[in-house]
Structure formats: C-alpha cells, structure tokens
Amino acid sequence: MENLSKAIKEAARKLFAEGKVDLIIGFEEGSLPLRATPCFARNAQEAEKLIWNSGCNNNLAVYVPQKKGRIGIVAKGCDSRSLVGHLKEKQIERENLVIIGVPCQGMVDRKLLEKKLGNKELLSIEERPEEIVLKGDGFEETVKKIELLPDNCKTCKHKTPVIYDILIGEKVEEEKEADEFEKIKEFEAKTSDERWDYFSDEIKKCIRCYACRNACPLCYCKECCVDSSQPQWFGKSIELSDSQVFHLMRAFHTTGRCVDCGACVRACPMEVDLRFLNKKIEKEVRGLFSFEAGINPDEPPPLATFKPDDPEEFIK
C-alpha cells in the first residue's frame, strides 16, 4: 500500500510537471483510520497528499462531470467502469482525461468494520496482504480482509481498471468463480408476497435524504426529476408508496449503466438494501441484451439501441 501511495504521488508529480493535467482527483488521509477522503490536487505540492489504502472506497468518477479542464483521476476497477460510462454518455472527452489506474483488492466496508469493532475505538491500522491489523487503546486484532469486504467487492470481476493511461502496481488476478447474482436468484425463488414484504420493509427505512442519488456517478443531471416541482413527477410525502416509486425510478435510471460500485449502499445512512434493485436490473440486462455496463466506450447503451428480434415474451 505504501508503495502504491508513493507511485501515485510520483505519477501525479510527473503529470503536473509535464503540464498534462489541471486537476488530479485522488484520495488523501481522512480524519480517521481507513477513512480516506477525496482529494482535489491542483498542483504538484497538493498532490503530495495523495495516498492509497483499503479505505479508498468512494467512486471518484462522480466528480468528473462537475469539473472543467483536463482531469487526472486515480481510478480503481469500478471507478474506471464509471468513467467508461461518462465517456459513452459524452460527459467528458477522452483527451481531457488522464486515468491513473490502480488495481484494487476490495475496499473495506465501514459498516462491517464498525460492527466488528463494537464499542472499541480504532486508532490505527496496519495493512498486510489479505489481512488488516486493527489497533486501538488496549487492543490489537488481526482480521482477514475478506470479512470486511462488502458484497460487491467480494464478487467483483473487474478489479484491474478496464481503461487507464498509467497503471500503478501489478494487475491482479480476477475473480472468475463467484456468482454475483447469487442473492438475486435466491430472492427470485420467493413468493410474490414475500418479495413485496421485503421491498416494503426495506423502503420503510428510507428518509428520502437522496444520499444514494448524490453519491451515484450516474446521477449527473443538472436538475433531477425527483427535485422538480413543476411538474411534480414524484410525490414528496413520507408515505411508503412515494418512497417506493422514488427507489424504483432511481434504480430504473441506472439500467444498463450501473457498474455495481456500491456508492449508493455506502452512502445510505439507513442501511436500505438498494443493491437488490440495481443488481436485478443488471441481471436482466445481461440476460436479455447480453450487455455489461462500463466495459466498452464505443458500445451503445442497451436502452438507446434495439434489435428487431429483441425478446418480447411478456407482450400480448
């Protein structure tokens, strides 16, 4: 990890020296261990803050459409797939983007970490390959990293960035066995009543803070249909039905675009299971249109194209 941090700083220094970028988006040390925070470096001096560890979980691609000029960005696998989405949707020109790819071994889920720690306060960490040592006042615990990974990292099949200009470190071996749709398949086997109850119970927790939308790299619209009051597309009450409609449409807007980076799930303060909607859509897009989001910038998005012989068993 130390080596990666050093290599990122070096790459950033070089990019600024050659005048190739106006801004580098990366991570800097946060106020707590394993809590890296986004860093916006505008010169080589500021780039000295850049780091890399297992707490760099934010999807930095979310900032790209808001920024002007030539942008350098530190991207792990899922960030790079979101960047492919931005390129596809013409949110940025490829020549204005320098991607510093970092192969990723999974990022620690803050909520799992907190559950593991209980009441103890984490003061420092030490990263080893596949293990993390958690240290605090009067305790030291070695934990397998896999225990702290969220579901999307555990089944991630694109750990090495899919596009990059500079690659930091070595490519990592990709997961081939894990079934990323396992939970969805289990859920599909339930009855309609059970599925409805689960959906309702999850959405009941929602406080409509829209953190899921704000964290999502796909939600870059200048004005969101959810915020619009003229016309008012979405009911703003706290009634369950209104929240359900919001979540269904939020998920539907990610059709063929979601790369399962987990940003919405991490941002949610109420721990709503948002992934069960997104992942279902991803599964159907894969099955019906053989399309995987965030791989090829030249392939048209599945809902912006069609084939004359698309499946239509559901139509009378």
Partner: protein, 146 residues
C-alpha cells in the same frame, strides 16, 4: 375491502394507447360496435415509446387496479423505432415490477394495429379478466391521493 362491496367491485384499468395503432384500433372497435368490457380508462399517447415507466407507477399509486400499455406491432411504428425502444424498456421494467412483488398480470403490454378491432376487444377482455382475478390493487396504492 368491506363485505358486500366485493361483489360490486369492478377493476379500473388505465390503458396507454399509441395514437397511430392501438388508439385507432380502439376507435375501429367502437365504430364497428364490437363489445368489450367498460373497465378501461384510455390515455392517448403519441407512441408506446412515450410511456415513461413512471406513468405506470403513478397510475398504480393513484388507484388503478391494472395498467395496459399498447402500441404498434414491431416494424409498424409511425416513428419507425419508438416501439422497439419501448420493448427494451418494458422488458426490464416488467421484470423489476415482478421482482418487487407486483402481481403478474397487474401491468400488461400488447401490440394492436389500427385494423385489429377484434383483437383490441379481446386484449381488453383478457386484461380485465386477469385483473379481476387478482382483485383490487393493494400494493403501491397511495392512501392520500393528490
């Protein structure tokens, strides 16, 4: 549902009909005096591709027991590819609705051309019967309707 009311309950079905095929098909059914259940509330749209999935959810929220979206047969779209786009969109959306537990048959899709008056009547009869079997909609319904 109170007792006694069950027997008098009739399904309310919102139908989104495309201007060029299904709406004309409905019109032809009318002028040809073909009988079909009076449970539909027709909304004319320019194209099946115009139907935002949100419209379907809003219909369910506001008390529709069933929703039908109908457009031109593939290849017959007035705008050439509107119904192809709609087909992709609703292939995913219908799966999503089933995933969250909206009963199968509550939201349906069909292709009806301007010449198919008999088919239009059949589709409406089928959808009405399907929704009648499911009973009044209870899921997604807003308690306070705007």
């Amino acid at each position: 549902m109170e007792e006694g009311k069950e027997s008098s309950w009739e399904p309310k079905i919102v139908t989104f009909l495309c201007n060029w095929c299904s709406y004309a098909g409905a019109d032809l059914a009318g002028v040809s005096r073909i009988q079909y259940p009076p449970n539909t509330r027709t909304i004319r749209v320019p194209c099946s591709g115009r139907v935002n999935p949100l419209y379907i959810l809003r219909a369910l929220q506001n008390g529709a027991d069933g929703v039908l979206v109908s457009g031109c047969h593939p290849g017959d779209c007035h705008y050439l590819s509107g119904n192809f786009s709609a087909r992709r969109k609703f292939a995913i959306f219908s799966q999503l609705l089933e995933h969250i537990g909206i009963e199968k048959g509550r939201v349906q899709f069909s292709w009806v051309s301007a010449a198919e008056a008999n088919r239009f009547a059949e589709v409406i009869s089928e959808v009405t019967e399907d929704v009648r079997k499911l009973g009044p909609a209870k899921r997604m319904v807003k308690k306070r309707v705007e």
